[in-house]
């Protein structure tokens, strides 16, 4: 529970003011007073809002890890070393082939059993339980990176070899060529694909509710069970995911326009 609570403690005061559900300008506060969706102890508004925050935090925390991992796997896939290519391809085959739910269960139970056995082998006794947020983050990052590496590999292929040679001719080292010449072009080409992956990532976070993380789906599920208003609360969950998708698609179209601003002038 440590990580989620620390994050919540650090960002709490700022988020409380900006809270779109129960904050000073929250929709539940103004529109759902007196109903089941009210904030505080009378309704489920704040619980569901907290779930929304957990979903968003999980997706945002997974993104950089998955992107970094995916980037290095994409590099490995176009390496000259056959062993490195093969190792990267095995990775993507596994994590693109397994159902996300199974990956999550395997990471959650597998890590737990593995660590317990390791500790037992060292001669201690624990009833160690892995943090669901952490386990979910690892599982989602593995899946995300496998897909991201495919997107980035095809983006790498779209960059002509001459760009590397030009970097070389200017006397830039490999790392600098990558940073100043290849990466800026890579981002432009890969953005639409990465945008799709981000949407998929948001939807996949809903699966973590199954191992007990209090995200949108779990919080609305609890509310549904208690109030017997399942359709309303699961409908609300769908609308929240839909809102995330809509805002993300705005964000990505803005990013894409921005990344193409050098071309737009012409």
């Amino acid at each position: 529970m440590g990580l989620t609570e620390t994050l919540a403690g650090l960002t709490g005061p700022i988020l409380a003011a900006l809270d779109p559900f129960c904050g000073p300008a929250g929709i539940f506060r103004w529109l759902a007073g007196g109903t089941l969706m009210a904030c505080g102890d009378d309704g489920w508004g704040d619980e569901v809002g907290a779930g929304f925050l957990v979903t968003l935090t999980l997706a945002v925390a997974t993104l950089p890890v998955g992107l970094m991992l995916g980037f290095f796997i994409a590099l490995a896939k176009q390496s000259e070393a056959a062993t490195l290519r093969l190792a990267a391809n095995i990775y993507t085959t596994i994590f693109r082939g397994l159902p996300e739910l199974l990956t999550i269960f395997m990471i959650y139970f597998g890590l737990q059993i593995g660590i317990r056995q390791l500790v037992a082998a060292l001669g201690f006794e624990t009833s160690f339980e892995i943090n669901t947020f952490f386990a979910g983050m690892i599982a989602l990052a593995l899946v995300f990176s496998a897909y991201a590496s495919e997107v980035l590999t095809s983006a790498f292929k779209a960059i002509p070899k001459g760009q590397y040679e030009a970097g070389n001719a200017l006397g830039l080292r490999g790392g600098k060529t990558m940073r100043f010449i290849i990466l800026p072009q890579l981002v432009r080409i890969a953005l639409p694909g990465l945008g799709n992956l981000w949407m998929i990532l948001i939807k996949d976070t809903a699966l973590i509710s199954v191992i007990g993380l209090g995200d949108i789906l779990r919080q609305t599920g609890i509310a549904a069970r208690v109030t017997k208003e399942a359709f309303m609360f699961y409908g609300l969950a769908c609308l929240m995911f839909l809102a995330l998708a809509i805002v993300s698609s705005w964000g990505f179209s803005w990013l894409e326009q921005r990344s193409r601003r050098s071309e737009a002038a012409r």
């Binding site: 490995a76 070393a81 062993t83 159902p99 199974l102 269960f105 597998g110 359709f231 995911f241 839909l242």
Partner: protein, 276 residues
């Protein structure tokens, strides 16, 4: 007239590049070592955990679970394919109302998680029990399998409609004009000219959609359908043996890889007239 009597000796072939150990190959070898070690550990784990009683007890259940998964996917993909036709048509319609309705449908089912849709139907429809009983549909929606089939069909219809629309729109306008010039009716044009070309484009996305559905169908285990994942969860909750999950992973990987390769062969065969 003089000429050289001696020919210049042919230069020796360039030296074969020595396979040198650079950073990439070292990292690659280490990583392959990790994979191989992981594979060996997995095999020894499965060997150690081999228990003929468990295999006798749960093996047939896994097979039946696999059957449930495959039939769920096959049925929902086929009904979804039929349903995707009017939706794709609506998306391309010039009528604002129809195209917005179709767009809303597609956006909803592609923008929300499949698991939330499944919960909305399986748990949510319970709210409307009196109404459903009145029209005699309660029996249908009480059953988890039917709900899963319903949710998956609606979901895949949205995705397939987008695949279809993209494919049909990828056929150049000249094809329509050519068909019109030949005096073909709209329906004939669609069936004989547009669809065959669109299907080639749509082949790969359709394959991906089937794979996504097979993977996505694992979530029905949560609403008590005993598909491959459901049987796995049941076996794990009874034995607390991690090998149950490993076997499920092997099964899923095998189906997905098989399908992927079959699809690649199929695509290769169907597009052989396009190769130069």
């Amino acid at each position: 007239m003089s000429y050289s009597h001696e020919l210049i000796a042919p230069s020796p072939p360039p030296k074969a590049l020595l396979v040198s150990w650079n950073r990439a190959s070292i990292v690659g070898t280490i990583l392959m070592g990790v994979w191989i070690l992981g594979g060996i550990l997995l095999v020894t784990f499965l060997f150690d955990a081999w228990d003929i009683d468990k295999i006798r007890l749960y093996g047939p259940k896994y097979i039946s679970g696999l059957g449930v998964t495959l039939s769920l996917v096959a049925i929902s993909i086929s009904i979804g394919a039929a349903l995707s036709l009017p939706i794709a048509y609506g998306r391309m319609s010039k009528n604002r109302v129809i195209s917005w309705l179709a767009y809303g449908y597609v956006y909803f089912f592609r923008g929300t998680p499949l698991i939330a849709q499944l919960f909305l139907i399986y748990y949510g429809f319970g709210t409307f029990r009196p109404q459903l009983e009145a029209i005699g549909l309660w029996g249908v929606f009480r059953d988890a399998w039917n709900c899963a089939l319903f949710a998956f069909t609606l979901n895949t219809a949205a995705y397939q409609a987008e695949i279809l629309r993209g494919a049909v729109e990828s056929v150049p306008k000249g094809q329509h004009e050519g068909a019109a010039a030949l005096g073909l009716s709209k329906f004939q044009t669609f069936r004989k000219i547009i669809l065959p070309q669109a299907m080639i484009v749509a082949l790969r996305p359709y394959g991906n959609e089937i794979i996504l559905m097979i993977k996505g169908s694992a979530i029905v285990a949560i609403v008590t359908v005993f598909d491959l994942m459901g049987e796995t969860r049941r076996a794990f909750s009874r034995t607390f043996d991690f090998q149950t999950y490993v076997w499920a992973a092997i099964f899923y990987l095998a189906i997905v890889e098989l399908l992927r390769n079959v699809w690649a062969v199929l695509e290769d065969r169907l597009t052989r007239h396009l190769k130069r």
